[in-house]
Symmetry: C2
Subunit: 240 residues, 2 copies
C-alpha cells in the first residue's frame, strides 16, 4: 500500500507529527517508523514548540500527544499511528491475522512502557517523582524482582528462531521493541546487564544495522533519553 | 468482510475465547463484539476453567489473557482482538484512516481501564488491594478530582453531534465505551451520578437498545461486575 505521492512532496510533507519537544517519549516510536520508511514529515513540536500541540489537543484529536495528521485523518495513540504508517509503508504484513499480531505486540510493548513510566509516577501524574518517591521505590522493587524478567522472557521467546518478531519480517513492532530495549538500557543499566537476553541483544544489533534507520540513529535528529520522559535514570530505581 | 462460513459452523465454532472465569474483565469487551456480531464462539474459560488458559499462556500467545484463537491465528490484547473481529464482521469502517481512528479510541478506552484498575492496585499486581490501600486512597483522590472528569469530557465531546463515536457508524469502539461506562457506574456510583454527561447517558441507552446485543445483555450469559475484576466497588474509593 505504498503511496508514491509521499516521495514527491519535498519540504511540504503530507505527514505532521505533534509531540512534546525535549524528550524522545512516545513520539520517538513514531519517528523511527517515519525515518526508516524514509518519508518526509514535519516534526511540529521540535520546530514550533508547545503551542501547536496544545492547540491540537483542543480539537480533541486525542487525550494526549503524540498526535498525527495526514490530510483529513487526525490520530492519537502511538500504537495506532505506528500501525497506520506501517500499513502504508510496507512495515506491516498484508495478512489480516499477521497484521493483528503486529498490533498485539505493539500493545504489549505499550503496556511495558506504561509499567516503566508508572515506576517513577505510581500515584499521580499530577505530582512530581520526588512527591511519590516512597511508592516508586516499592514499585521498583517488584519490577526488578519479577516483572522485568517476565517481559524480557516474553519478547525473547518470540525471537528464538527468527530475527524479527512476526513471521521473520521486519515490522513496526520490531522498531518499537528496539526503542523499548534501548530505553530499558538507559533507565536501568545495572538490571539490563544482569537480565538482558542474547535474543534481545541480537535484535538490538540487527535493528541498529538497518538502513536507512542507521543514518537516523547516528544523526543529530535522534534525541537522547533524559529525566523528563518515560525512561528515566534514577539510580535508586535501578537494581542495587 | 463478513465471512459466510461463520454462520454454518454451528456448535463447532471457528472462534475460541480464553479468559478467566468468574469476572467480566477484559474478556467481556470481546464478548460484546462476538454477541452483537452474532457469531458462534467457544468461551473456553467459562466451560473448562483455568487450566486451558494457563496452557495457552505457555504457547506465548501473549503476556496475559484474553487470548483468542481463529484457525492458525492466535491473538492477545483486547483492543487487537476487537479490531480483528470488528474488521471481519462489519463493526469497523473500511476506510484506513477511520478504522485507525476506531483503534485509537479502543486504545484510549484501554488507557482509562488501566487507570481504573491501578486505582485498586497502584503499587503491585502481586499484592492484594488491602496491602496497598493507603496508596489506593491517594490515587482515588486524584482520580475523582481530575482524571474522571477529563475522561468523561473527552468521550462526551466526540458524541455531541452524533450517536456513535466514528462517523456516526456503530463500531467496536462504541461497544467498548458502553462497557467502560457501565463499569464506572458499578465501581463509582456516587461519582457517576455527579459527573456523568448527557452524551454518555444517551450513548449507553442507544447501545443497550441494539439488537442482538440487547438479548445478550438480558441473558444469563452476561456476567455481573464483582470485586475480582477491573471495576471494583470499594466504597472508600468512590467519591464521598
Amino acid at each position: 500500500m505504498l503511496d508514491p505521492f509521499i516521495f514527491v512532496v519535498g519540504k511540504h510533507s503530507m505527514y505532521q507529527l505533534y509531540y512534546w519537544p525535549g524528550l524522545p517519549g512516545c513520539g520517538e516510536f513514531i519517528r523511527l517508523v517515519l525515518e526508516h520508511a524514509k518519508v518526509a514529515y514535519e516534526d511540529i513540536g521540535l520546530r514550533q514548540g508547545f503551542e501547536p500541540i496544545v492547540a491540537m489537543k483542543q480539537t480533541i484529536a486525542g487525550f494526549a500527544p503524540p498526535y498525527f495528521v495526514h490530510g483529513e485523518t487526525t490520530l492519537a495513540q502511538m500504537p495506532a499511528i505506528c500501525m497506520y504508517l506501517g500499513q502504508r509503508h510496507g512495515l506491516c504484513p498484508a495478512d489480516h491475522g499477521d497484521s493483528t499480531r503486529v498490533l498485539q505486540l505493539l500493545l504489549t510493548i505499550s503496556d511495558t512502557l506504561s509499567e516503566i513510566h508508572d515506576l517513577h509516577h505510581p500515584l499521580s501524574i499530577a505530582k512530581t517523582y520526588e512527591q511519590q518517591k516512597d511508592a516508586a521505590l516499592q514499585c521498583a522493587q517488584e519490577f526488578h524482582q519479577n516483572r522485568l524478567q517476565q517481559w524480557i522472557t516474553f519478547y525473547s521467546k518470540l525471537l528464538i528462531e527468527q530475527n524479527w518478531l512476526v513471521r521473520n519480517n521486519l515490522s513496526v513492532a520490531d522498531l518499537a521493541l528496539f526503542q523499548l530495549v534501548s530505553g530499558i538500557e538507559y533507565a536501568f543499566p545495572t538490571a539490563f546487564i544482569k537480565l538482558i537476553s542474547p535474543e534481545l541483544l541480537q535484535h538490538q544489533a540487527h535493528t541498529r544495522r538497518l538502513q536507512p534507520l542507521k543514518n537516523y540513529l547516528n544523526s543529530s535528529r535522534r534525541q537522547p533519553f533524559n529525566e523528563t520522559g518515560i525512561f528515566r535514570h534514577y539510580k535508586e530505581l535501578d537494581l542495587a
